[in-house]
């Protein structure tokens, strides 16, 4: 019996347990006061109570068993005489064993290594022996726990409360995954970052203005690991250029859609704009690099900026701005809609025109929400990698010239991690440090955004 069939068997028995639990509870069901049943919970809940008892412990046992049994099986197989011819230790021995095992399980038909064939029979025997043990133990557990729970069914058993408590635990666990992930991210970055900072001083890294990683420190001890240009590039593309494109377009789109557009137009236009956010960033990257960047460069040259390079902060920023228009517009949409309509009515009743009402009352009132939304959009923009990889180049320039090439943190992370440098060189480890700093920055941005949004919500409640 394989573990899958065993699992199905256990689940099947669980259903049987559910049935018996329900049956017993239904038998106890008599009318008490009024038409109310003497049962605390519906028979269904009693059924689930028994079923959970039957399934959960056995399943946990099976999981543990599936971790323990392979090595027991291998040990048993190695005790067979055929094992004597195996090479001692090493990958070859392991590979032969695992091949033999795969054949024994029927996952594989032919052996690449002839030695494997001899081990198949001992494996088969060991496997069926231990599978038998596991199956018997699991089934015993199903019965023991199921019967225990079944015996406990009484009219006043709070089966529903117990089931609900279990469900609640599951819900809580689901939301804890977010914290686990956050901690996981932190842990997966922090060790390499620490190694990096043991080679490069954090001060130089955080406040250095030159990003040009060198193998050895220069004459003035400069290492070229100054992250400021990267962060500047990130801010320049993601928070300045992209926002110059996205904020007016997004905000005005939201205003038009919420305040002026007929419902029909709005119901069509909104999803169309949302497609902008759904287009994969590789596509944007490709578009930016092959269409927008050359066009912008030609434009720059035609207006006399001869130094314009074809990978420009502007190209990446503009395309990124287009990408996040829907983020800004939907946030603005929400927060304008959240301004109580009594504000609008108040202003209109004073004799203000529609646009005056929007500009002087709605936008100021919605501003915190809009700002919160923009901050979230910014954190999305600064995390964007592909557009920049493809369109903005890799040159870490500290420049405010939008026609020159700059680079961003995420781009450099990709570049450093997929580069040819040895993995313990600071050049590779810097990627983790950049990642950690970026993570902390987005965390801060989010905390601010949350604060702002929360504060503004309270203003109307």
């Amino acid at each position: 019996m394989t573990s899958t069939t065993l699992l199905f068997l256990v689940i099947g028995l669980g259903l049987v347990a559910w049935f018996f639990g329900r049956l017993k509870a239904a038998g106890l069901h008599t009318r008490g006061k009024g038409s109310r049943s003497v049962l605390h919970s519906l028979p269904n809940y009693h059924g689930w109570y028994v079923a959970l008892w039957a399934i959960v412990p056995a399943t946990i046992f099976m999981m543990v068993w599936s971790f323990v049994s392979p090595s027991l099986i291998t040990d048993a197989a190695l005790n067979s005489p055929a094992a004597a011819q195996l090479p001692q230790g090493g990958f070859a021995r392991g590979a032969i064993l695992s091949e033999a095992r795969a054949i024994a399980y029927g996952h594989q038909v032919n052996a690449f290594n002839p030695l494997s064939q001899s081990m198949v029979t001992p494996y088969r025997e060991a496997i069926s022996y231990y599978q038998m043990i596991g199956a018997v133990a699991a089934l015993l557990m199903v019965f023991a726990c199921g019967v225990y729970a079944w015996l406990r069914i009484k009219p006043d058993l709070r089966a529903r409360t117990k089931i609900e408590r279990v469900t609640m635990m599951v819900l809580l666990l689901a939301s804890l995954i977010a914290i686990v992930t956050t901690v996981g991210i932190f842990l997966s970055l922090v060790f390499e970052t620490a190694r990096f900072f043991s080679m490069v001083s954090p001060i130089d890294f955080l406040f250095g203005t030159e990003w040009n990683p060198k193998a050895v420190a220069g004459p003035r001890g400069e290492t070229g690991f100054g992250a400021i240009p990267l962060f500047w590039g990130t801010v320049f593309i993601g928070a300045i250029i992209a926002m110059i494109v996205a904020i007016p377009l997004g905000l005005m789109s939201a205003i038009y859609l919420t305040q002026y557009a007929p419902a029909k137009f709005r119901s069509w236009m909104k999803p169309i704009l949302e497609v902008l956010a759904g287009v994969p960033t590789v596509v944007y990257g490709y578009f930016a690099a092959l269409t927008v960047a050359p066009a912008l460069r030609d434009f720059a040259v035609s207006i006399g900026i001869t130094s314009a390079s074809s990978e420009s902060a502007l190209a990446a920023g503009v395309v990124m701005g287009i990408m996040i228009i829907p983020f800004v517009s939907s946030m603005a949409d929400d927060s304008i809609a959240a301004v109580p309509s009594s504000m609008r009515d108040g202003s209109l009743a004073m004799g203000a025109t529609h646009s005056e009402t929007i500009k002087k009352v709605l936008i100021p009132a919605a501003l915190p929400g809009v700002v919160g939304g923009v901050l979230l959009a910014v954190s999305r923009a600064i995390g964007e990698t592909m557009i920049v990889v493809m369109a903005a180049g890799l040159a870490a320039n500290m420049t405010a010239n939008p026609f020159s090439s700059v680079t961003t943190v995420t781009t450099q992370i990709v570049q450093l991690l997929t580069g040819d440098q040895e993995f313990d060189s600071p050049k590779t480890l810097a990627a983790f440090a950049l990642g950690l700093v970026l993570f902390i920055v987005t965390l801060l941005l989010n905390l601010i955004a949350l604060r702002v949004v929360k504060k503004y919500r309270e203003a109307y409640e």
């Binding site: 109580p340 108040g346 009743a349 004073m350 004799g351 203000a352 025109t353 529609h354 100021p364």
Partner: protein
């Protein structure tokens, strides 16, 4: 958006029915506002059915009636706030000093400056007290300089009886005031653009008894300076503040007359039933 919304039957409907039959009166002076044969529809549903009424300068007019009878709807027709509801449609004739307010050449922005409105829930803008009051004068260009604006703000607050309470904190946010103060702020805001008519839709229903008393007092003081229309659920309040009362029921104007008459000696059975709490 609704600038081009206009009355479908304005020309033929004027003076078609005798106002006297539905109780519209014109005994004291020329009426400030007149409504004739007004019908309002929300989509297919008729909310106001052939209502004619006159509003005078020197009296406070109260609209009473059970919930959903169309009091607010009619009130909002009087300064075209109903324009903001896309499905609302209105026929009939409403005039402000003889000007048809639904005529195409009528500018709704100026109309609303002349006919101010105070809402059920106090709705100060989330700006400073000063800016709340100054908002109207600014957009209408009523003040030429800072002093003049200051003056308007001060006098409006004084007339709304709020000056002494807020004069030291004009820069505080309007939303930081208590409910009753906020409602008086809204009244002051309406006064600041120097309207001719003030419409109030249940101005006290969100307020506690003490704040209510203050507002009622204020209405007393404002009477005569502005034509005031007030919607209320509270018949005692109507009796206390108004000189004329209109009783609405299911979208029709059942009875309109002197407040004392309505409350002591109603002509209609329905009015009597409502006044005595038989329903509503």
């Amino acid at each position: 958006m609704n600038d081009d919304k206009k009355m479908q039957e304005s020309s033929e409907s004027i003076n078609m029915t005798d106002p006297a039959t539905t109780g519209a009166t014109s005994e004291s002076g020329t009426p400030k506002m007149t409504a004739r044969n007004v019908n309002v529809f929300y989509g297919d549903k008729q909310a106001i059915n052939d209502v004619s009424i006159d509003v005078n300068m020197d009296s406070v007019t109260a609209f009473i009636g059970p919930s959903g009878c169309g009091k607010s709807t009619f009130l909002r027709c009087m300064n075209r706030m109903n324009d903001t509801i896309p499905i609302a449609r209105i026929t009939g004739d409403i005039r402000l000093e003889g000007d048809d307010i639904y005529a195409p050449q009528m500018d709704v922005v100026q109309l609303r400056a002349r006919v101010g409105m105070v809402f059920q829930k106090p709705n100060p803008f989330p700006k400073s007290i000063y800016d709340n009051i100054a908002y109207g004068p600014r957009i209408h260009g009523l003040a030429t300089g800072k002093e003049e604006l200051d003056h308007i703000v001060e006098s409006s607050l004084q007339r709304a009886g709020l000056w002494s309470e807020v004069k030291d904190r004009l820069q505080d946010s309007g939303t930081a005031l208590s409910g009753g103060q906020q409602q008086r702020l809204c009244i002051a805001r309406a006064i600041a653009v120097d309207p001719e008519v003030i419409l109030m839709d249940e101005p006290c229903s969100a307020l506690d008894p003490i704040a209510t008393a203050k507002i009622e007092e204020l209405i007393h003081e404002l009477r005569g300076q502005y034509a005031i229309v007030i919607v209320t659920h509270n018949m005692q309040q109507a009796a206390r503040v108004s000189q004329k009362t209109a009783f609405f029921h299911l979208g029709t104007l059942v009875e309109y007359g002197e407040t004392t008459d309505i409350f002591t000696n109603p002509r209609e059975e329905k009015t009597r039933d409502y006044i005595t709490g038989r329903y509503g």
